[in-house]
Each structure stands twice: as C-alpha cells, then as structure tokens.
C-alpha cells in the first residue's frame, strides 16, 4: 500500500508520470511550472532507462517528444501558456501521426506574455485543437493534488489507448499548493504490451512509416475520417465529471479545476442559507461531459458558469444545454483568484433575481 505523502502539485504530476511508466521528458524553463521540469530531471536521473532533456526551446521539446513517442516511449513535456502556444506545431503533428504523448499546461494569465498568476486562459486553445488542422486533443482538468496524480496516470493510459496527445490542464495555484497524496503503485515498464506501430528498426518485419503528409486528397480525407471516428469513440467512452449536491438543486454552478474548488466553497456557503444550488465539475474538458448537463437541464433552469477567464467553457455549456435553461457567467481573468464569498454573492443574486426561492 502506498502511503500518504505531502507534495506540491507540479511535483505530484512528475511522480505520477514516472509511476505511470513515463521514461522520456523534454522541457524548457517557464514559470509557474519549473518544479515539474526540475522534478523530472532528478527522477529520470535516478532511472537507468529514463531520459531527461532540457531542450533549447519549447519547439525542440515537443519534437523530441515526437521522436521518443515514435520510438515507443511513454513521453511527456510540460509548459505554461506562452510555451504551450509554441508547442502547438508539434501537438498538431502528434495528432496527425497518431502518436501518444502527455502535455501538461500550467496555465497563467494572458494573452501575450501575460503574468505568472493562476488562470484558465487557455481553455479554447486546449479544447479546440490548438494547432492547425482538423483534430482534437483529450483534455483532463484535475482540481486537487490527488487528482493531479490520478489523472496523470489516466493521461498516459488514454494517450496509448487512443494514440493521441493528451493535455493536462492545471494552473499555478494547483502546481504550487502542497496537498496529501496517495500515489498509485508504479508500473513496471517491462510489462507494457509491445506497440505494433513504433519505429525501432525493421528487423524481421516490413519497414514502417509514420507520416502526416498526405498529398492525395482522398488519403487525407481517409485520415480525417479515421480521426473523426476515433474522436467519436473517445466522446462516447471517457467523459468524466463530478456532481456535487445536484440531486435537489434548482441552480447549478459549472466550473473546473481551481475554479471548481472555489465554487464548491461557494455552494457550501449558499446551502447553509438554504439555497438549493449544486456544482457540476467537468473533469474531461474535451470530450465535454454533455450528458450530465443535459440531464440536469430537465429540472434546472438556471446555470452559472464560473471560470478564471472572460468566458470560454461557457460556449461548451451552451452547446450541451442546447438552449434549455439560462446560462449566466462570472469570471475573473488575469490571475485574479476569486473567493468563495464572491461566488456565493453572485449565486445569491442570480438565485433571488430568478425567484428560485419560490421553486
């Protein structure tokens, strides 16, 4: 049995990655996630089959990950918002070449260089592909230290299962906060079943090609269809969310990651005042957990989306609700962290303005 350890969020991702069999990490320094890069440097140093490279650029880092993934390694890179922008070329190639990889984005305020404070500024970038071309990436949004560890394991599993890049979307607050964590047991990488598509030298088998150039339009269309079918399967199989006090609720707050923790505090406060408010916390941002929202919309009319940005996930909430219910928004961008009281006040005002106390 693993025991509880107190650990910083960024380092928890690193430890969980190593335990998930990650044996290749390339990264470039950027705040607020350097602790993860530093953790991987030390961890890989302690393994006889691990590789850590401090790359000369974000571009080089993601392309090294492409190479490691082609060669069959469980590979990871990490960065923060501006650095993730630079990695988008490689993420598009990972998607096109159907290569597994895990990319951690510890989001900060933006656009541009922005700041280094916790933010959810990159929801659009993460959930809409981010790079060029017709593709999706799986996006996981942990909200606690324990979940950072658990979802890092999940990220590597999904990456291999679906041969797709998987993004873990956190923020500086989650990365810096120390919490007690129970790690899953390490996986012995020798127990992984061999991958049938990797490039390791064509000995005793036909040579393989991993490519993304498909000059012939029907061949490109075939790839796009294959990806689309894969995305349909992913959309069916992995949506994840947490419902908190939703069964009797007549108003639902929707928030993910750090924002969801703040929102949960707000929901607790307004419950004490007798308001029937619940929280839906998407854990997968893509695929978005449409079903629980759709089900809630049968008896809930008022929805409040809370994000640490100017309104990005709200688009997906509206798509999931398909016009059923009123969607309100409260957001603080730029690295400002709202308090539960602030959200509680917003909930309160919507609740009473919509006469929900009479329901």
């Amino acid at each position: 049995m693993s025991k509880k350890v107190l650990m910083r969020g960024s380092q928890a991702i690193g430890e969980a990655a190593v335990r998930a069999g990650c044996r290749f990490y390339a990264g470039y320094p950027i705040t607020p996630q350097n602790e993860l890069t530093e953790y991987m440097a030390e961890a890989m140093d302690g393994l006889n089959d691990g590789t850590f490279i401090q790359a000369e650029s974000e571009l080089a880092a993601i392309n090294m990950v492409i190479g490691a993934s082609m060669a069959g390694a469980r590979a990871m890179t990490s960065s923060s918002s501006p650095g993730i922008s630079l990695k988008q070329e490689g993420i598009s190639f990972l998607a096109a070449q159907e290569l597994p990889a895990v990319i951690v984005n510890t989001m900060r305020g933006g656009p541009g260089l922005g700041n280094i404070a916790p933010s959810q500024s990159d929801y659009f970038q993460a959930t809409r592909g981010g790079g060029h071309g017709d593709y999706r990436t799986i996006v996981l949004a942990p909200a606690s230290g324990q979940e950072l560890a658990d979802l890092t394991r999940t990220a590597f599993e999904y990456a291999d299962k679906y041969r797709s890049p998987v993004l873990i979307l956190g923020d500086g607050m989650m990365g810096q906060m120390m919490e007690p964590i129970v790690f899953p047991e390490p996986i012995d990488v020798r127990t992984f079943s061999p991958k049938s598509w990797i490039l390791d030298g064509a000995k005793g088998r036909p040579s393989r090609i991993i490519l993304s150039l498909l000059l012939n339009p029907p061949e490109q269309e075939d790839l796009n269809w294959r990806l689309a079918r894969k995305y349909e399967i992913i959309t069916r199989e992995i949506p994840m969310s947490e419902s908190y006090m939703t069964s009797d609720a007549n108003m639902i707050v929707i928030a993910y990651g750090t924002a969801a923790r703040i929102a949960k505090g707000a929901v607790k406060r307004v419950r004490e005042l007798g308001l029937k408010v619940g929280l839906l916390r998407p854990i997968t941002l893509w695929p978005f957990p449409n079903r629980p929202l759709k089900e809630l919309s049968r008896h809930v009319r008022e929805f409040l989306v809370f994000e640490m940005n100017m309104g990005q996930m709200i688009d997906d909430v509206k798509l999931a609700l398909e016009g059923r219910g009123n969607v309100h928004f409260y957001g603080r961008p730029g690295g400002i962290i709202s308090t539960p009281d602030e959200i509680a006040k917003t909930i309160n005002s919507i609740y009473h303005r919509q006469h929900l106390e009479e329901d």
Binding site: E56, S57, V65, I66, G67, L199, G201, S207, L213
Partner: protein, 250 residues
C-alpha cells in the same frame, strides 16, 4: 553464367523516384541505402525525412521512417535516439529545412553531441516550393524571391551552417561533399560511411553536407548543373573535411 554486378540496394524499395531529372536526391538516396547495406545496419536504422522535396524519402528507403515537422529533424532524431540508443538514427534535411527554419534544433543537437547522423542536402534553393531563395543561395544567384540575384545588403550572404556546426563542442565529424561527378559521388559515399561508423562507435554528432544539383529550379540542363556545382558553388561552399575528431575508423 552472367555475373550480377549492379542491382537495387537492399534498403531501397521498388519504387520509382518522383524527383526531377538530374536531381541529386536519387543518387544520394542510393548512396545512403548502399552504406546501410554495407554496414549491415538497415534493420536497426530509423530515418527522419524533412519537409521539402525529400519528405517522400519514406517512400523509397526500406527502413523505418518517421517524418519530422519542417526543420525539426534533429530534435525528432534526438527523441528517437535517446529512447533507443542502440539503433542508428539519421535525419535527411534540405538547406531550407536545416539552415533556416531548423537552425536552432540543428545547432543544439550538434552542441549536445547527439549521437546521430545528419545528411544535409544543399541545393541552394527551396526546391519543393518552386525555387525561392534558400539560406544557402549564392550571392548573385537568381531565385523566384531574388529575381535580380541575391543581394548581400538586402538578402544577406549565404550561411555557412556546416562551419558553424563545427564550432559546436559536441560535433565530431563534418564534411562537405558534392553529387557532381563520379569522383565526388564516391567521396560522398566514403563520407557517409564514415558518418554512420562514427555513430556506430558512439562518438557523437556527425553531418555530411552534400552539394546537390537542382537543374529545374536552377534552369540548367543536368550536365550544366553538375558543372555549376564544381565551378561556382564550391567557391562559396568548398568541398572539404570541416571537422574530424574521429580519425580512422574500422
């Protein structure tokens, strides 16, 4: 009984090259395949083709091939090689790929001393996109983006990437050769052999720059293009061993 003295190398597929008449890629592909066969390393080799004319190299080499984004060959090769250190990894890159958009990746891979082999095909232009100025276009040379000839003040001088890479502490063997005559083709093959042997011996970063004809974009006949390499191109890019910390290899 007739003795077979010339045949398709083992590691070239039975495919017809798409390259233009007189293009150097076909010859160079053949040389690389011959070297892989002679060193008996084809079954443990992974090749990284570039963006550019040679992107389709994966249709010709009968070894595992993984396409890199434009210019990132050395970074992708780094990822493969570090994951599988006992395999042979080469990247095959054009001048625009390696000396413009991928300069940083190349310099840093060389400086880290990555134990990979880079084949740098210098034809002085962007071939696949239709003959624009490359970082290696000669001063005064016409291209579709230097219609009056490359002007140093406006367009900069050609870049000496191989010489720059020789300064990098991790590079051990760098040579410039040409695909312009039987003699130079034989020298190119010798250099390629040494580069792969350098990697097999685990000595570090090796790179062979190959001056290669692009008759279509140069608007020359294949014969004139070969002659132009020898007479003109080699004045800017002299054929020589630029760095050799390897010495003799068995």
């Amino acid at each position: 009984m007739a003795k077979k003295i010339f045949q398709r190398p083992k590691y070239l597929k039975k495919a017809v090259f798409h390259y233009c008449p007189g293009c150097g890629h076909s010859i160079l592909h053949r040389l690389v395949a011959e070297v892989l066969e002679e060193l008996d390393i084809g079954e443990r080799t992974i090749g990284i083709p570039p963006a550019g004319c040679a992107v389709l190299a994966y249709n010709y080499f009968d070894v595992d091939m993984g396409e890199a984004p434009h210019g990132r060959g050395a970074a992708v090769a780094t990822g493969v090689k570090r994951t599988l250190p006992d395999r042979i990894v080469f990247s095959y890159q054009g001048d625009g790929d390696i000396a413009a958009i991928g300069t940083a990746e190349t310099i840093h891979a060389a400086n880290r001393g990555e134990n990979i082999t880079v084949i740098f095909v210098n034809n002085g232009c962007y071939g696949m996109t239709g003959g624009q100025m490359a970082p290696t276009t000669l001063i005064g040379q016409n291209s579709t983006t230097t219609p009056g000839g490359r002007d140093v003040k406006r367009d900069a001088a050609p870049i000496d990437l191989s010489e720059m890479l020789a300064i990098a502490r991790g590079s051990v063997y760098i040579e410039r050769t040409a695909i312009s005559s039987p003699k130079n083709i034989r020298r190119t093959k010798r250099a390629l052999t040494k580069a792969f042997k350098t990697q097999m011996a685990g000595l570090g970063f090796s790179l062979i720059e190959v001056l290669s004809p692009c008759p279509v974009n140069w608007k020359m006949s294949p014969v004139d293009a070969a002659k132009w390499i020898d007479d003109t191109m080699t004045q800017t890019f002299p054929l020589k061993v630029i760095k050799d910390e390897v010495g003799k290899l068995d």
